[in-house]
C-alpha cells in the first residue's frame, strides 16, 4: 500500500441500491466459482477430469429413476427441517436443536409403533403417532424457548445440549427395544403387521414429497401473510420495538419455537413412520445442522429454500457417488458443502457493500 498518501487504496461503503436480480446474479456467480473450486479439489484428489467429476455427481443424484426419487425424498426431509427452523431464525432465535427435535419426533412415532402394535387398529395408531411426534418435537422446542423467554438463556447452546440429551434418550430406548436382543439396534418395526407404517401414495417416496410441498405452502403464508409472521419479524428486527407496540415478546418466542419444534417432529415422523420404519440415534444424520445453512442461504424464504436444499442434497449425493466410485471416504461431501457455503457466505459482502477505489490513481481490479 502507498504510505505517502493517507487515503487507503480502497474503502468499503454500504449500498442500498442492489436490485434483487443483481443480488441473485452475484450469488449465482459465487456458486459457479465454488463449483469450479470443488471440481478442482476433486480432480486433485481423484485424478479424474473435472467434467467427468460432475457427470459422476449428476449420475449419483439423478442417474436412474430410483436415484431421482431418493434424491427428491431426501430433499423433502431436509426441506421440512429447514422450513421448521425458519420461523425461529426470522425471530433471530438460533435454533440449533433441529437434530434433537427431529429425533424426539421420530422416537415418539417409534414408541407408538412398538407399544400399540396389535392393540389398536392401524388408522388409529397412525393418528396417535402423528399427534405424538408433533407434540414431542414441540416439547423439545419449548424447553429452550421458555428459558430464553424467561431468563434470556443463550439458545444456541441450550438447543445444542438438548440435541445430545435427545440422542441419549433414543440410545436408551434403542437398547430397551432392541430386537433381536444384543444386536444393538431396533431393526424394522412391525415388519409383518406393518402397523404404524404411513400409507404409500403412488410409490413409497411420494408421501414425504407431498408433505414437504404442503409445509412449504403453509410456511410461506404463515411467514408473509399472517399476524404471527408479522410479529415474528418485528421481534427479530428489534425486541424493543416489539415491546413498544405491545407485542408480548416471551409469548412470541415460545409460540414460534412450538411451531418450529412441531414441524421438526413431523420430519421425525416421516423418517420413522414413512421411510425407515426404525429408529437409530443417527436417523437425523446431521440434517438439523445442514438445515440451518439451507435456511440461511435462502434468506429465510420458504420458496427459495426448495432450491438451496436441492443444491445441498445434490452435492451430498453427488459427492457420495464420487466417494463410492473412487473408494474415498463419504465425508467428501461435507468438504464440498463447506466450500460452497464459504463462497456463498463470502459473497453476501459484495451484495451489502461495495468497494470504492482511490480516485486519481489507476483503477485496480479486486478479485472476488
Amino acid at each position: 500500500m502507498n504510505n505517502k498518501k493517507s487515503e487507503p487504496l480502497f474503502h468499503v461503503i454500504k449500498r442500498d441500491d442492489m436490485t434483487r436480480g443483481k443480488a441473485w446474479g452475484i450469488r449465482a456467480i459465487s456458486i459457479v466459482a465454488a463449483l469450479l473450486l470443488c471440481a478442482l479439489v476433486t480432480t486433485v484428489l481423484t485424478g479424474d477430469n473435472p467434467i467427468s467429476v460432475y457427470a459422476t455427481m449428476f449420475s449419483g443424484a439423478f442417474g436412474s429413476a430410483r436415484k431421482t426419487w431418493v434424491t427428491l425424498q431426501s430433499l423433502s426431509i431436509l426441506l421440512i427441517i429447514s422450513l421448521a427452523l425458519t420461523p425461529a431464525f426470522r425471530m433471530r432465535f438460533w435454533n440449533c436443536g433441529g437434530e434433537g427435535q427431529v429425533l424426539m419426533g421420530g422416537l415418539a412415532a417409534a414408541a407408538c409403533m412398538v407399544t400399540l402394535d396389535g392393540k389398536l387398529p392401524n388408522a388409529l395408531v397412525i393418528i396417535i403417532m402423528i399427534i405424538a411426534s408433533i407434540a414431542a418435537g414441540a416439547i423439545w422446542g419449548f424447553i429452550p424457548a421458555i428459558c430464553k423467554a424467561k431468563w434470556n438463556t443463550n439458545e444456541t447452546l441450550s438447543t445444542l445440549m438438548m440435541n445430545y440429551i435427545a440422542t441419549q434418550i433414543v440410545a436408551y430406548y434403542t437398547v430397551l427395544w432392541e430386537s433381536p436382543k444384543g444386536s444393538g439396534k431396533i431393526g424394522i418395526i412391525n415388519q409383518n403387521s406393518n402397523i404404524g407404517w404411513l400409507p404409500e401414495i403412488g410409490n413409497k417416496y411420494l408421501l414425504s414429497i407431498l408433505v414437504a410441498l404442503l409445509v412449504t405452502g403453509f410456511l410461506y403464508i404463515y411467514i408473509y401473510y399472517s399476524k404471527h409472521g408479522y410479529e415474528i419479524c418485528v421481534v427479530g428486527e428489534s425486541e424493543r420495538t416489539a415491546n413498544y407496540v405491545g407485542i408480548k415478546v416471551p409469548k412470541v418466542i415460545v409460540r414460534t419455537m412450538l411451531v418450529s419444534g412441531a414441524l421438526c417432529g413431523l420430519a421425525g415422523l416421516l423418517l420413522v413412520g414413512g421411510i425407515n420404519h426404525t429408529i437409530t440415534t443417527t436417523i437425523a444424520g446431521g440434517q438439523g445442522f445442514t438445515a440451518i445453512m439451507v435456511s440461511w442461504l435462502a434468506k429465510f424464504n420458504p420458496i427459495t429454500m426448495i432450491f438451496t436444499s436441492l443444491l445441498i442434497i445434490f452435492l451430498g449425493r453427488g459427492a457420495g457417488e464420487i466417494a463410492t466410485v473412487f473408494e474415498l471416504n463419504q465425508s467428501f461431501s461435507d468438504i464440498l458443502t463447506g466450500i460452497i457455503l464459504f463462497f456463498i457466505i463470502g459473497c453476501e459482502f459484495f451484495i451489502r457493500y461495495k468497494l470504492v477505489f482511490r480516485s486519481g490513481k489507476k483503477e485496480e481490479v479486486k478479485n472476488v
Partner: protein, 329 residues
C-alpha cells in the same frame, strides 16, 4: 474409595484436556467479540493435520524424538491457523454472520477430518491396514521418568504427556494476559464495545484477527492431544465426537475465565466418563445410555442457572456475535 479416585482422576484429566484446550481457545476468541461455533471443526482439523504430519513422517523412515513431536505439532498449528484465518476473513473482513460461518466451518472441518482420516492410506498409497501412529504417539504420551516411582502422587499429577501440562500453562497464561496486561485490556475492550475501542485508537480488526487465530490454534491442539496422546495415535472417524460443542458450552460454565476452565474441564472430563463407573445392575444395561446424558444435562442446568442469576460480571462480552463496521453507527 481412594483407589477409585487414583484410577478415576487420571482418566478424567485425559478427557478434560481436549476440553480445556477447546474452551481456552474459545474464551480468547469470544473476548474479541467473535462467537466461533467452528471450534468443533477446528479441533478436528488440528487433530487430522497432526495425524497427516506424523503419518508422513513415520512413512519416511527412522523416527527421531524431537522431530516426531515438532512435525505433528507444527502441522496441527498451521491447520488450525488456516481455519482461523478463514473464519476471520469471512466474519471480520467480509462481516458475514458468525453463527452460519461457524456452523459451516464445523461441517467443513469435521468433513476434512473424517475424509482424510478415512482416505489417507489410499491417497498416500501406503501399504498399512490402518492409521496407527504408535511410534510418534509414544513421544507425545511420554510422562516424566520418575512419575511411576512416586506412587499415587505421580499417578494423579505427573502421569500425563507434555501437551496436558501445556494446556494448563496456556490456560493460566491466557487468564493472566486477559486480566493483567494491556493487550488483554485492549482485547476485552474490543469484545465489549468495538466502537469505543476504535475511538481509543485500538486496531479492532488486528485484535480480532490475532485473538481468533490464536484461539483456533489453541483449540486445534485439543484435537492433537486427543489423537496423539489420549487415543495413542489411532485415528478413527467421529471418535472425537461432540467434545468441541462441550468445549463451547464450558466457556459459559467458566464465565469466560481460562483459569476456572482448568478445574471445570477436568470436572466435565469426569462427567463424560462417569457412566462407566456408575452401577447399573446386569438387568438394566440400558440405563448406561441415560448416564451418558449427565454432562449435557449439567451444562444445560448451568446455562439456565447462570442466566437466571444474571450478574453483571458474569455476562458474555457485550458485542459477542456482532460484526463491526466503523461507518455503521
Amino acid at each position: 474409595m481412594f483407589d477409585f479416585l487414583i484410577t478415576f482422576i487420571p482418566r478424567a484429566v485425559g478427557q478434560g484436556i481436549p476440553l480445556l484446550f477447546g474452551s481456552t481457545g474459545e474464551i480468547v476468541t469470544e473476548k474479541s467479540g467473535n462467537l466461533n461455533l467452528g471450534i468443533p471443526g477446528v479441533m478436528y482439523v488440528g487433530g487430522i493435520c497432526g495425524v497427516i504430519g506424523a503419518f508422513a513422517y513415520e512413512q519416511s523412515g527412522n523416527v527421531n524424538g524431537f522431530l516426531a513431536i515438532c512435525i505433528p505439532l507444527l502441522c496441527s498449528l498451521i491447520g488450525s491457523l488456516l481455519m482461523g484465518l478463514l473464519y476471520c476473513f469471512l466474519t471480520v473482513t467480509l462481516r458475514a454472520n458468525q453463527n452460519v460461518t461457524g456452523l459451516a466451518m464445523t461441517t467443513f472441518g469435521v468433513g476434512i477430518g473424517n475424509f482424510f482420516g478415512g482416505s489417507l492410506i489410499k491417497l498416500s498409497g501406503a501399504d498399512v491396514p490402518s492409521i496407527a501412529l504408535t511410534k510418534t504417539s509414544a513421544y507425545f504420551s511420554r510422562s516424566l521418568p520418575f512419575a511411576a516411582k512416586m506412587g499415587w502422587f505421580g499417578k494423579v499429577f505427573l502421569s500425563y504427556g507434555f501437551l496436558a501440562y501445556l494446556a494448563v500453562i496456556i490456560a493460566i497464561l491466557a487468564s493472566y494476559i486477559l486480566k493483567r496486561t494491556r493487550p488483554g485490556l485492549h482485547l476485552r475492550a474490543v469484545g465489549e464495545s468495538p466502537a469505543t475501542a476504535d475511538a481509543a485508537g485500538i486496531n479492532v480488526i488486528k485484535y480480532k484477527y490475532v485473538a481468533t487465530c490464536l484461539g483456533c490454534m489453541i483449540a486445534g491442539l485439543g484435537g492433537l492431544y486427543y489423537v496423539m496422546d489420549y487415543a495413542s495415535g489411532v485415528w478413527s472417524n467421529d471418535a472425537f465426537g461432540d467434545r468441541g460443542w462441550l468445549a463451547i458450552a464450558l466457556v459459559i460454565f467458566t464465565i469466560w475465565r481460562p483459569n476456572v476452565s482448568i478445574f471445570s474441564s477436568i470436572l466435565f472430563g469426569g462427567l463424560y466418563i462417569l457412566y462407566m463407573y456408575l452401577p447399573t445392575g446386569m438387568e438394566h444395561m440400558e440405563v448406561k445410555e441415560l448416564y451418558k446424558m449427565i454432562p449435557y444435562v449439567v451444562t444445560l442446568i448451568v446455562l439456565v442457572v447462570t442466566s437466571m442469576r444474571n450478574k453483571r460480571e458474569n455476562q458474555p462480552p457485550l458485542s459477542l456475535g456482532l460484526p463491526y463496521f466503523r461507518e455503521e453507527r
